[in-house]
Symmetry: C2
Subunit: 354 residues, 2 copies
Amino acid sequence: VKIKSRIKDYSVEMIDDIFSLSQSIKINNTRFFFIIDEKLYSIYKCRMDKFVGKSKKILIPAKEESKTLPYIMNIYRKLFDNGFNRNDTLFTFGGGILQDISGFIASTIYRGVRWIFAPTTLLAQADSCIGSKTSINFYKWKNQIGTFYPPDKIFIDPNFTDTLTDRDFYSGLGEIIKVHLMGDEGSFDSLSKYLCTKKLHAKSDFTQMVSNSLKIKRSYFEGDEFDTGRRNLLNYGHCFGHALESASNFEINHGEAVLLGIGFSNQVALNRKILCKTEFLKIESVIKPYYPVFDLKSISIKQIINNMKHDKKRTDKKLVMIVLKKVGVLEKRTDIEEQEIEQIYSKFVEYIHE
Amino acid sequence: VKIKSRIKDYSVEMIDDIFSLSQSIKINNTRFFFIIDEKLYSIYKCRMDKFVGKSKKILIPAKEESKTLPYIMNIYRKLFDNGFNRNDTLFTFGGGILQDISGFIASTIYRGVRWIFAPTTLLAQADSCIGSKTSINFYKWKNQIGTFYPPDKIFIDPNFTDTLTDRDFYSGLGEIIKVHLMGDEGSFDSLSKYLCTKKLHAKSDFTQMVSNSLKIKRSYFEGDEFDTGRRNLLNYGHCFGHALESASNFEINHGEAVLLGIGFSNQVALNRKILCKTEFLKIESVIKPYYPVFDLKSISIKQIINNMKHDKKRTDKKLVMIVLKKVGVLEKRTDIEEQEIEQIYSKFVEYIHE
């Protein structure tokens, strides 16, 4: 998958064993500095150590607290103290959090350095690795600081998903389902067949779905990298999803929240007759088995609405939501009412728990 | 002056009284948040207050300590606490330091917001306002963190230079002389005439020189915004200049250091017979009267060389210097020897003080 960017063109390569790469990616006159998810490192220690060799490595815990400026200052410090220079390359192994941190650093140290990213979660492989966004939390403002900066190269090794917990694995499904609903009829149908027939034992079988996801996502942001128009539609499932994720104190993870956000958005669209009942039911039959098990009754709708008001995409007094008209056709609505959300939420909670 | 950028195209407008602008720059549905140099604000208080109106303003002291991440976190905090949103506009009044701080913030808050810049020092007007660079200090590493992010619009009001101290004013001359040496013969000749005949009483007479400087600078970075090739030549006078500025503990200011850096680089070029004696003397006759009064003997050449080794443009073991072959023709040399620098420095110090 090749991607055009205002900043620099880049590409994604699916690779069966990333640890066999070491020789071929060496670039003249450049050293690698590795940034690795702490937990991932402990799982793949032997192979990682061999791959990293004598290069410096920095281990980072994949948690929201790592995505803060004080934490990032520690990493700048380690890089400078170890003589990291403008011709050196950052190489990241990890999921979305590691991507956000190292992308922000890669874009701001010497105003941008070479950066290779090997996403290791399904969520990062199928979604976040492309699109150039990096995000940092600032106090209570989640993801409100950041830059646009793509990696120079992305290597996706599907084997990494074999060591994900089931929960993290299914979290990745949220974004995969989202973009397949945003592609054409054919793409959603093929995903449906896959989800309904496979037992998902061999997680690495997902290679095709991952690469489809990236192609559909690309079609939404190429030409609108800085997110001023069409790219906004990728926020489908996120307006409500983000707010829910936050209101649950992140006990619901991102992919789970996005899947619930898709379901909720579809209810809103159904209620407004934007989405027809047949299409709605067809989609539900595919996604309902993947809704996370979580007691939604414990989450206050007032808190969710309050969070939706802080959505950085919102510019007016009403609430914003991306809704599906039919598979592949979406629309941004800026006229969503608080009352409407409240009413649909109580029905939605019952539906999810039925 | 219109400038093409990978990030966004933008333009510079010369304007005789910026405070008369207030109505014409209002954009629908956007609020302004002002970031203003503390000292400048005290000088122009009445007019500033009228211009700012009910908008929020943040005053910042123009010193190196303000260009740090902890300080910038305070500003993020003030912006978020005051409800700054992604459709709002930052509006900066100040020189290079204010530009660096607010440019970094504008590029990282919500991954980039609208930003208007009114440079108020000669240095910022004639040089730094274009070219998209923003810089932050990190401990001892000066300007090593930053982004590429141009303002959406730059308004240059030459009247601001009337309230600069003489020293700050002459500091701006360093960069003006630099780019005029990098333009064609004609541009340097017209600057020479100007510098040799005018008494520089009416500082705002410089409008033409400012606008020429921006056009010459633009010709060096358009097409190489991210500084991987030709743009590097703009570092003329800076390889030695930065190192000197730092070694003097910033008692020599940036523009003064750049002018001395030009003089020094020309001595190196003369010594290597890259620059001919006639051309060298012609240039010296114009710039020598503007060298700052400073006891260079008090600065250790070892310290300067040590700083040159940390130049972020350097990638090899030898030192780097941009040298002039003749007016308008420059070359990057990566084979400069420490011993060469030491020998020429002792001659240079005598020459400056003679």
